[in-house]
C-alpha cells in the first residue's frame, strides 16, 4: 500500500529524503528568488511506514516519493494532525478510496461525495475562507444599517411634512440632522473598505464624496446655525437620501451575488436627475453661507499667531467652489489637460461610463 507524494520546485539540486517510521523529512538545495538556498520540510505521518521500502524519483520538475505503509489501512489524512497544511495538496488523479480494490473502473467521486466535495472546496476556495465570510457579513451589515439610517431620515422628513406641511421644510436640520450626521459620519468607513482591500474599486471616489458631503454637513451647516433653517437643506437631505436608498441595496445584492434588474437600473439611472439636483442645492447653500462666515470669522485664523499662518475660510471656500463647479476643462497649450477637470464633471462622466457598461447603449430598433 503506497502513498505517493510529489514536490514541485523551481530548480532542485541534491534532494535528500529521510524516512523515519513516522516522519518524512525532505531537504534540497534550490535556485529561487534569493539565490541558492536550502529548503526542507518535515511531515508527521498519520501512521507508521516502512522506511526501507521508501522509493523516490527525481525528475526535471518534481520529486516523487512513494511510501509503504506499515499496516494495510486507509488513512483519513496524510498527516498525524487533522489541520490542513497550506502547501500540501491532494492530487485527485491518484486518489484511491476503499472500495476501489474490486472494480477498477468505478467512479471515485460517488464513494465519499461529502468528503470529496469538502476537500475540493477547501483546495480550490480562497485560502482564508473564514475571513472572506466575515468580510461579506460585515459589509452586508454595514450596507443594511446605512440603508436603514437613510430610510429613517426620509421617513422622518416625510412624516413631519405630512403633519406641518411646507413649514417643515425650514426645520429639516432639526428633524433629521442628528440622523444625517450619524449616517454621513459613518460613511468614512467607505474610504477604508477599498483601502484595506475589503471591496474593489478606488479610494478616490468615496474620498471625494465623503469629504464633499462632510464639509457641507459638519463645517458649513453645523458651523452656522442660520444656515440650518434654509429650505435648501430639506432638498439636500432628500436628494442625498434618495441616492443612498438605491446605492446600498445594490451593493448588498452584489455581495450576495444576486441581481435585481430593477435595482441595477435604478442605480445607473437615478443619478441623472439626482446628481445635478444635488450639485445645484449644494452650490446654493455654499453661496448663501459665504456672507455668514465673513461676518462671524468662524474657521478663519488671523495673524499674528504662533504658527504664522493666516486662513480666511470664505476665500478658501470660494476657491473650492471654483474648482468643483466651474464646467469644462482647461485647454493648455492646445492639449487638453487631464488634471484641471472639475469634480462634478468627473463624477458625472464616471457614472455615465458605468451606465453604458452595465446597461449598454440605447438599443437599435430591429427591422
Amino acid at each position: 500500500m503506497c502513498i505517493a507524494a510529489e514536490g514541485l520546485f523551481p530548480c532542485v539540486q541534491k534532494p535528500d529524503v529521510d524516512l523515519l517510521p513516522e516522519q518524512l523529512v525532505f531537504r534540497a538545495e534550490g535556485l529561487g528568488n534569493s539565490g541558492n538556498q536550502l529548503y526542507s520540510f518535515t511531515l508527521d505521518l498519520f501512521q507508521q511506514v516502512i522506511p526501507e521500502e521508501t522509493q523516490y524519483q527525481v525528475s526535471d520538475r518534481n520529486v516523487q516519493v512513494t511510501l509503504t505503509k506499515e499496516d494495510e489501512e486507509w488513512w483519513p489524512h496524510l498527516t498525524r494532525q487533522k489541520t490542513k497544511l497550506p502547501w500540501l495538496r491532494v492530487d485527485f488523479d491518484r486518489w484511491r478510496s476503499e472500495s476501489e480494490d474490486e472494480a477498477e473502473g468505478r467512479d471515485v467521486m460517488s464513494d465519499y461525495p461529502d468528503v470529496y466535495d469538502r476537500l475540493l472546496q477547501e483546495e480550490t476556495a480562497p485560502r482564508d475562507n473564514r475571513l472572506n465570510n466575515f468580510r461579506e457579513s460585515y459589509l452586508i451589515m454595514y450596507n443594511l444599517w446605512q440603508l436603514l439610517g437613510f430610510a429613517v431620515i426620509l421617513g422622518k422628513l416625510a412624516f413631519r411634512y405630512r403633519l406641518e406641511g411646507e413649514d417643515s421644510m425650514l426645520k429639516a436640520y432639526d428633524t433629521a440632522g442628528v440622523n444625517m450626521k450619524l449616517a454621513q459620519g459613518l460613511q468614512v468607513l467607505e474610504i477604508l473598505h477599498p483601502l484595506f482591500g475589503m471591496t474593489r474599486g478606488g479610494v478616490l471616489e468615496p474620498l471625494m464624496q465623503v469629504t464633499g458631503r462632510n464639509l457641507m454637513l459638519f463645517v458649513v451647516l453645523e458651523g452656522e446655525p442660520r444656515m440650518q433653517t434654509k429650505p435648501a437643506v430639506f432638498y439636500l437631505f432628500v436628494v442625498w437620501s434618495l441616492v443612498e436608498l438605491v446605492r446600498y441595496p445594490y451593493y448588498t445584492l452584489r455581495i450576495i451575488r444576486r441581481e435585481l434588474s430593477f435595482i441595477t437600473w435604478l442605480r445607473y439611472t437615478i443619478w441623472i436627475p439626482l446628481y445635478p439636483l444635488g450639485f445645484i442645492t449644494e452650490g446654493v447653500l455654499y453661496l448663501r453661507a459665504l456672507p455668514y462666515f465673513e461676518e462671524t470669522g468662524r474657521f478663519s485664523l488671523a495673524m499674528p499667531n504662533a504658527v504664522n499662518m493666516a486662513f480666511h475660510f470664505p476665500t478658501v471656500l470660494k476657491a473650492l467652489l471654483l474648482c468643483a463647479f466651474m464646467p469644462g476643462r482647461l485647454m493648455v497649450a492646445g492639449e487638453l489637460s487631464e488634471h484641471c477637470e472639475t469634480a462634478y464633471l468627473v463624477v458625472m462622466r464616471h457614472m455615465y461610463r458605468q451606465r453604458r457598461k452595465v446597461i449598454g447603449p440605447a438599443k437599435v430598433k430591429q427591422q
Binding site: 495673524m303 504662533a306 504658527v307 504664522n308 499662518m309 493666516a310 493648455v332 497649450a333 492639449e335 489637460s337
Partner: protein
C-alpha cells in the same frame, strides 16, 4: 531588408510597416515614423516591445536588441516635449523672483502701508536663505547636473511650475507679512545652522554625483563617499541629496516657525521619498553588489 510592423500602443491596431536592417537604430526607425505621421518628431515618439511599459533607447539597434524580421513594435506619442533644462529653469526662476517680490510687500497681496512697516531680522534672513537656495539650484542646473533625459512631456511644465510658484507665494506671503512673529533666538539660530548644513551637504552630493558620471555620458555607478565629509552619508542612504534637502527645509521652517513652510517641507519630503524609493530599487536591481545596509532616504529608517 526586413519589415518591422508598427502598432498603436493605445488601441493595439496595426498602423504601417517600416523597412529595417539589423543595424538600423531605434532613432532611425523613429525618424521613419515621423515621415509617415506629420506633427511628430523623434523626441516625442516611443517605440516599445509591449503595449505598456518602457520604450527602447534611441541608440539601440535591432541587432543589439535581438529583434528579427517581422517583429512588432508599439508606437506611443508622448505628447509635446520640452527640454529638462528649460523646465528646471522655469521652475526655479519663479520662486526666486516671486519671493523677492513678496518681500517688498506689494499691493496685490498686502494692504497699503504694509510696505512701510518694520521688517524683522528673521524675515530678512529667511529671504536671503530662500534666494540662496534657488540661485544655487539654477546654477546647478546650468553647470553641475548631468541629466539622464533630454526632454519631458509639456504638461509637466505646468504641473511643476504650479507647485513651485504656488507654494512660493503661500510661504512668502506669510513670512513677509507685517504681523509675522519670529521665533525665539535659540530656535532661529538652530534653523539657520540646519539650513546651512543642508545646503552645503546637498551641493556636495550633487558635485560628487557629477564626478561619478563622465561628460556626455549616461552611465550609472554606485555612489561612494569621497574626501568631502558631507558625502559620508552615501554609506547610509542611496539619495543623500534628498536627505540634505529635507534638512535645509526643516531649517527654514524652524527659523521662521511658519506652518506654510512646514507644509512645503512635508510635501517636498513626500515627493522626494517616492523618488528615493524608486532610485533605491533601481540601484539594487542594476547592481547585485549594491551595499546592503543602505536605506533610500532616511538613515536607518526608510
Amino acid at each position: 531588408m526586413s519589415k518591422v510592423e508598427i502598432l498603436h500602443a493605445g488601441s493595439g491596431k496595426s498602423l504601417f510597416t517600416l523597412n529595417a536592417a539589423p543595424s538600423t537604430s531605434i532613432l532611425e526607425l523613429k525618424k521613419q515614423v515621423c515621415e509617415k505621421r506629420k506633427g511628430l518628431y523623434p523626441g516625442r515618439v516611443d517605440l516599445k516591445p509591449k503595449q505598456r511599459g518602457k520604450g527602447y533607447g534611441d541608440s539601440d539597434t535591432l541587432a543589439s536588441l535581438g529583434l528579427h524580421a517581422g517583429t512588432k513594435l508599439y508606437l506611443k506619442d508622448l505628447g509635446p516635449q520640452i527640454g529638462w533644462v528649460t523646465v528646471f529653469l522655469a521652475e526655479y526662476a519663479g520662486p526666486l523672483v516671486l519671493y523677492l517680490w513678496c518681500f517688498t510687500r506689494p499691493w496685490p497681496l498686502y494692504d497699503a502701508g504694509a510696505a512701510a512697516k518694520p521688517v524683522t531680522t528673521a524675515a530678512k534672513v529667511a529671504c536671503a536663505c530662500w534666494t540662496i537656495h534657488y540661485a544655487k539650484r539654477l546654477l546647478e542646473t546650468l553647470f553641475v547636473h548631468r541629466f539622464s533625459h533630454a526632454t519631458m512631456p509639456l504638461s509637466n511644465l505646468f504641473k511643476n511650475c504650479s507647485y513651485y510658484w504656488g507654494f512660493t507665494v503661500f510661504v512668502a506671503y506669510h513670512v513677509n507679512h507685517p504681523l509675522f512673529t519670529p521665533p525665539a533666538r535659540p530656535l532661529f539660530i538652530t534653523g539657520v545652522v540646519l539650513f546651512t548644513l543642508g545646503e552645503l551637504g546637498n551641493l556636495s552630493i550633487h558635485w560628487a554625483l557629477r564626478q561619478l558620471r563622465p561628460a556626455g555620458s549616461r552611465v550609472r555607478r554606485i555612489p561612494q563617499p569621497t574626501v568631502n565629509p558631507f558625502t559620508a552619508l552615501f554609506s547610509a542612504v542611496s539619495c543623500p541629496n534628498y536627505t540634505y534637502e529635507f534638512v535645509s527645509w526643516l531649517g527654514f521652517t524652524v527659523m521662521t516657525q511658519c506652518l506654510p513652510a512646514g507644509l512645503f517641507t512635508a510635501a517636498g519630503m513626500y515627493q522626494m521619498t517616492v523618488w528615493a524609493l524608486g532610485k533605491h530599487r533601481n540601484y539594487k536591481k542594476e547592481f547585485p553588489e549594491y551595499p546592503r545596509g543602505r536605506k533610500a532616504i532616511l538613515p536607518g529608517v526608510l
